[in-house]
Subunit: 116 residues, 4 copies
Amino acid sequence: MNIKELQDKLQRFTDERDWDQFHTPKNLVMALSGEVGELTEIFQWLTEEQSKAIVADVEKMKQVEEEIADIQVYVLRLAHKLGVDIERAVEKKMRKNAEKYPVHLAKGNAKKYTEY
Amino acid sequence: MNIKELQDKLQRFTDERDWDQFHTPKNLVMALSGEVGELTEIFQWLTEEQSKAIVADVEKMKQVEEEIADIQVYVLRLAHKLGVDIERAVEKKMRKNAEKYPVHLAKGNAKKYTEY
Amino acid sequence: MNIKELQDKLQRFTDERDWDQFHTPKNLVMALSGEVGELTEIFQWLTEEQSKAIVADVEKMKQVEEEIADIQVYVLRLAHKLGVDIERAVEKKMRKNAEKYPVHLAKGNAKKYTEY
Amino acid sequence: MNIKELQDKLQRFTDERDWDQFHTPKNLVMALSGEVGELTEIFQWLTEEQSKAIVADVEKMKQVEEEIADIQVYVLRLAHKLGVDIERAVEKKMRKNAEKYPVHLAKGNAKKYTEY
């Protein structure tokens, strides 16, 4: 995914419609949160096993795909508005996590997952 | 961002730590939702103007950048687990939105934003 | 609101439909989160001023009222399932906050709101 | 829980600290959403069984109780600000759901839970 290109395209889409006035960081965070709510509703009553099996359900996967797209769009918009380089941010976070959870300590140790 | 590459790297990171067992779609949706909650907390009391001005605050922007990274990581993980091609999904959604909100009707028309 | 009574009524409603099997704490947290997402979608593009003015909009207030009800229902269900006494928990939290933010220090000091 | 009394107490608490200016409906929705995010983080990696068993974990239950209190407080604040009578709203919703899901149709029918 060429992030910069997609973000420019989204910015153009927004400008052409005079919608940029609504896209303050605060509002975009809420919009992102609303979309995650919709994704949550798809999964809320499923068991973990059913949540894996959803990949075989064409109709539901269409919804899931749309929600993931909506979420990704708002992440792109928000990062664009705030001047955050998503790729750099992710790579930085991955390095940080690699240091925080070294393999020899983390392996078979679900502390992160059970102690929160 | 080479999405496929990042996703492979994240998968490796998870496998090396034996954490893949926790990464069911249901759990990843919750983790994504939790991270969006953290981002929300940064913006909840800010006015829209303050939410724009946050870009000048180095300390807060570090937090924002980390939260965006966390969110992006879980979107990548979830899409990977469900076999959703994020780039394709976003482009599909953008085409759909372009049809749903043609410029000549949408321009200066905030219906989408005021009628929900 | 007689919380205990409402919770018993909700439990009866759930039992009569054989739905209790779905109401694990994990699922109820997701359901609560999904409903908060719906409420968020109502407010996401509004300015703070517009969010106050919404009280004059009968149609939107019907939606808002329904979402608040949905959220409250899941809070009641979750607390019931986990044996949390909501009233006691709220009063405890209010005492804790009163100690954490004494009036003479907090007055005119939005630190809590600006430092997060 | 005497809702009206609690809401008055919370209003007094807010006024004494000059914090009412931050409590616009939009901001309160975000604050509610942020607290639900914190609750979500407690449950995100737990299996449904573990989420039930959490009641036996005194330390974790303290956190859960605090999060439920925070969530309830913001629901009370939001309803107060918008003039929504929570109790009436919940009872109305329960009547609506009773009509929507009559026992003889809903029993043993998880349609609501599997079709979303």
